[in-house]
Symmetry: C2
Subunit: 338 residues, 2 copies
């Protein structure tokens, strides 16, 4: 089969690789129906995270089960599946607490921009959809495997509730999905921080009530003005830089909650301000598997349409063009079809 | 009157100062009935936090109202009062959210190791006790103004619930009070980290079910062993160093909660691990005022006895000896009587 490998910063290749095979009785092999490029893939693509050797890429996918190991109980060949970017057995103590992204036997997938994918702990990682999905839901379901699941987790971490005042720092796919999550959770006011007109429009159609283009101290001051001087009840940090973290923290009211789902590239940010703030902070990799059944239902009943974050569709073989378009910010998120 | 002033690290003096007077119509003047020395007072005493000029000291107190300003509504001369170390109007948006320690018109008291104290925003800072307290409750009530209120907040931040597994890092007065708070909130298992026999005994009598003397990686490993390999549901950090913060974070299970009430002296601790952990973190100065009515009730009904953290009682005039005893760890906490 063919799949995606990063050889060096900026050097993405779609090349022939060994077909994946069942390695343990809890594995499944799926045929990829759609995959995509994540904002976090750009950290290595840009050389911000080091690459020591050729790295297979991709952790977002939907597909059809081709083969399952002897211990797989909930899946059978032919089923359409949505899965998390994080492998989880969904049975260990940590999974039972709802933190499947920290499964005691887990790992993160990184071979999904490919024609076929081996999924370990298939029962605990994948969710089969009863009927084959309507094609108009394909992009929505694909978004659940990371960006929508992560945006949802951000809103859960930020404890968005009916009536909450919310601010979202970051207008990438995760930030936009976080706006959608806040709307679904009943937020009364949703302030989207964005300076890009197309992303501003999508944020507004996802439920943002206010758009703020300013960043840093200026952005913080405007959010405070919009929230009676104190800051928002719930803020979601969906970027991962020291600047965006500081902005998000200072936009949260004392006693409010901050969900941090940008992978932190925060060298040198001391945690004293964060601790002293009285803001509740939770983040890290999203336990997407926890949310999948609910989110699949919301997609299939047309309550949410997170697939609208994809603004570029390419054949999987042109994956290098997809990275380039996202790196140059010509696309929010690229969908890839084998 | 006489009060306490720090002139330089290690140089505590009890000296004549101007009598405090009403300065605004929301002030009250109280006559101090008891005060004490806080672990945080030692940061400046030891020169870890700089002292630029003579600093009045003390933020824990109980007293009797002597005089109130014209706008004070809930207090009258002669009443016995307990108050928070943080001044709060208890009416602003932040106070109404329960974060009186971040009151929009607030500040921290620092003149309380003295014979008389001016309390700004008296209605929002002090709570009058209906009947004069039984003398056996004096130390318990004094403990509410900071250490017990802070230990309680740590447990609230760590989301201790009936049945929770809890670990407490720090065996100072706040850590010991955190053990007591965890017991009151229904924790099933409370692991106290302490290597001091007297403090271990007090922790056990406050409700600890296990005592662990090891620190750092070894301490973390033992807490994990005691909690099924995953870490505790709720951990409270009551020290404030980089080492204790790391130990507390790594003792918390994924998705668990960490309350951080040690004043963070954490230069150089990057927040990436904290964010990536999926642990919920909240801390900072405790909104003691929120908890005072409940805690006063628990003291007066003999449910809690936090005054047992005081193991040295001295006349206020010997405040320098009290600092010395605590600095040399000969006392957990010193009570001062004018």
């Amino acid at each position: 089969m063919y799949g995606t490998v990063l050889h060096a910063p900026g050097d993405i290749r779609f090349e022939q690789l060994p077909d994946p095979r069942l390695e343990t009785p809890t594995d499944a092999i799926i045929r990829t129906v759609a995959a995509c490029v994540c904002g976090t893939d750009l950290w290595v693509y840009r050389g911000i995270e080091p690459v020591d050797r050729p790295e297979p890429m991709g952790h977002e996918y939907v597909g059809v089960v081709e083969e399952v190991g002897g211990d797989v109980r909930t899946l059978r060949p032919g089923q359409f599946v949505v899965g998390s970017f994080a492998i989880s057995d969904n049975t260990c103590g940590t999974c039972r607490h709802g933190y499947q992204s920290r499964c005691e036997h887990g790992a993160f997938l990184n071979t999904c921009q490919a024609e076929h994918i081996r999924i370990p702990h298939a029962d605990g990682t994948l969710v089969a959809i009863g009927d084959p999905p309507d094609s108009r839901h394909l992009a929505d379901l694909l978004a659940l495997s990371d960006v929508m699941g992560t945006g949802w987790y951000a809103a859960i971490c930020a404890e968005v509730r009916p009536g909450s005042t919310v601010a979202v720092v970051g207008d990438g796919a995760v930030g936009l999905c976080a706006v959608l999550a806040a709307r679904e959770l009943g937020a009364a006011r949703i302030i989207a921080m964005s300076r890009n007109p197309a992303r501003q429009r999508l944020a507004l159609s996802f439920g943002a009530t206010d758009v703020v283009a300013e960043r840093g101290c200026e952005g913080v001051a405007i959010v405070r003005d919009l929230t009676g001087g104190t800051g928002a009840d719930s803020v979601m940090e969906c970027v991962g830089t020291a600047e965006s973290l500081a902005q998000a923290l200072r936009s949260t009211r004392p006693g409010g909650n901050l969900g941090v789902v940008g992978i932190p590239h925060t060298d040198g940010v001391d945690c004293a301000e964060l601790i002293s703030s009285t803001v509740g902070v939770r983040g890290g990799p999203a336990p997407v598997r926890r949310f999948l059944p609910d989110l699949i239902h919301r997609v299939r009943t047309d309550r949410i349409d997170p697939g609208r974050v994809f603004d570029l569709t390419l054949p999987l073989s042109r994956v290098a063009d997809a990275y380039r378009a996202m790196d140059e910010r010509r696309a929010v998120k690229a969908l890839l079809l084998p």
